[in-house]
């Protein structure tokens, strides 16, 4: 009985050590030897402020280049199904937050060019020069 009692803890200890070593190896494999590559990301995983910046920049670039297809391609990286959605969303948030009217106007123009609109943004559409 006493021998068995001594044997069991050793077995448990060895198993626990094996598991610990295995876990360590597993974490090493998952996080060290084949770590997740943080490079080569796409714009859709940008932090929210960068995400918003991206949309605002696309609207500004559209104003300069007037290249709707290029703007659409850029926006598809955020929302492949509805490229205009991020534009509308940002414009609405800017209106709500009292953001720059110039930025809102650019976004509305781009949204309009993409065939999208929003009731919140109608004043900006009407005020468009």
């Amino acid at each position: 009985m006493s021998k068995r009692a001594r044997l069991l803890p050793k077995w448990v200890t060895r198993a626990a050590a094996g598991i610990a070593a295995g876990l360590t190896l597993g974490f090493a494999v998952g996080w060290w030897f084949w770590p997740v590559q943080y490079t080569n990301t796409a714009p859709d995983v940008l932090r929210q402020d960068y995400h918003d910046d991206y949309v605002a920049m696309v609207a500004a670039a559209y104003e300069v280049e007037q290249d709707l297809e290029q703007a659409r391609e850029w926006l598809k990286l955020l929302d492949p199904e509805e490229p205009s959605t991020p534009v509308i969303e940002l414009a609405e948030r800017l209106v709500e937050a009292g953001g720059s009217a110039e930025d809102v106007t650019r976004l509305v123009r781009l949204a309009q060019a993409l065939g999208a609109n929003s009731p919140t943004l109608i004043p900006y559409v009407e005020d468009r020069p």
């Binding site: 050793k10 077995w11 060895r14 198993a15 626990a16 050590a17 094996g18 598991i19 610990a20 070593a21 295995g22 876990l23 360590t24 190896l25 597993g26 974490f27 494999v29 998952g30 996080w31 997740v36 943080y38 490079t39 080569n40 990301t41 796409a42 714009p43 995983v45 940008l46 932090r47 929210q48 402020d49 960068y50 918003d52 910046d53 991206y54 605002a56 920049m57 696309v58 500004a60 670039a61 104003e63 300069v64 280049e65 007037q66 850029w74 990286l77 800017l94 937050a97 009292g98 953001g99 720059s100 009217a101 110039e102 930025d103 650019r106």
Partner: protein, 331 residues
């Protein structure tokens, strides 16, 4: 023996279980989700797109600090490469001068230099031109489309986005790439003075007008070394108010290793630059009519410019400017 084997088996089983659990956790239960990344982690093409967008946004809003904040954290080579390419692309496409001026301003602020931007600093100020410029496609340059858009510059907006605030201020370099190399001090008597690089010693040795009926006016450049052999592989820039074009010598070997040419049009004042930095060697170059003889029809002449290095011991002031006086040849 059997006890030792049991220990081994126990350890191996534990190891396998642990490894499986570890991988299960890192790959399945809690895989890393890519969220909240920043532009520096974007794939190369997306990262370049980001830089391009930031530059175009600067053209639209003129907000330099905002542009800097957007480009903060990106590699300088990425930023420089994209902005250089954008300026050259826009210059070649004949984009409006205001747009190129904005891009040039941004480039300067970011310590980015490209010969195509120098036209706004050094090209002769000619009479106002139409913002839509017909490009001059030469055999060695990319054909360029006609511009149809007119960007509207607008006041800088303030978008309440928490863009990075630790804006690094690039050290602006006042020295221009076009700055001509300073001449060696001549008062130092016992001097093995270093010889300036060949390109820095190039000067206009000969300028002749070519009058060939049926030929589109062009500017031919012939670069030679000290021995009179053609210099191949040298960038030659032709700059004019609102645009720039680049050619590389030697791409038409039938005309000589140092040969390059550009199509040109009358009424435009050109600057010819050499090398990666576009050192200007010839300024105010204009296509001119050929002298008429008898019943000939009016004809616009081309220019052939021969550039040769001055000798190393030839002082800066001793340039033989008369050598570049135009000659006229009728084809």
């Amino acid at each position: 023996m059997s006890g030792f084997s049991t220990r081994q088996v126990t350890g191996v089983i534990g190891l396998v279980i642990g490894l499986a659990l570890g991988l299960l956790y890192t790959w399945v239960i809690a895989p890393v989700e890519l969220v909240n990344t920043h532009p520096a982690l974007l794939r190369t093409d997306y990262r370049r797109g980001w830089v391009r967008l930031a530059a175009l946004s600067y053209v639209a809003d003129g907000d330099l600090e905002r542009a800097r904040a957007r480009l903060d954290g990106l590699k300088q080579e990425d930023v420089a490469g994209v902005i250089q390419a954008l300026i050259e692309e826009y210059a070649a496409a004949g984009r409006p001068a205001d747009t190129l001026r904005s891009l040039t301003t941004l480039a300067k602020a970011l310590d980015v230099h490209t010969p195509a931007m120098l036209v706004y600093l050094y090209a002769p100020t000619s009479s106002p031109r139409s913002p839509v410029r017909t490009p001059y496609p030469s055999p060695t340059s990319t054909p360029t489309p006609t511009l149809t858009s007119t960007p509207r510059a607008s006041p800088s907006p303030t978008i309440p986005t928490p863009t990075p605030t630790h804006t690094s201020t690039p050290v602006s370099r006042d020295t221009s790439p076009l700055t001509t190399p300073t001449s060696e001090p001549t008062h130092t008597p016992p001097p093995p003075t270093p010889t300036p690089p060949l390109l820095a010693r190039l000067q206009l040795a000969k300028q002749e007008q070519i009058c060939e009926p049926g030929q589109v006016p062009r500017i031919e450049v012939l670069l030679k070394d000290e021995r009179g052999a053609g210099l191949a592989g040298v960038d030659v820039w032709l700059l004019w108010p609102g645009g720039a074009d680049r050619a590389v010598t030697g791409l038409k070997p039938q005309n000589g290793a140092g040969y390059a040419d550009f199509n040109a049009e009358p009424g435009t004042s050109y600057v010819l630059g050499i090398g990666e930095l576009g050192m200007p060697l010839v300024t105010d170059l204009q296509i001119e009519p050929c002298p008429l003889e008898d019943d000939e029809e009016p004809l616009m002449g081309s220019w052939r410019l021969v550039l040769e290095p001055r000798s190393p011991d030839h002082s800066e002031s001793g340039l033989d400017r008369s050598a570049g006086r135009p000659e006229r040849h009728r084809g």
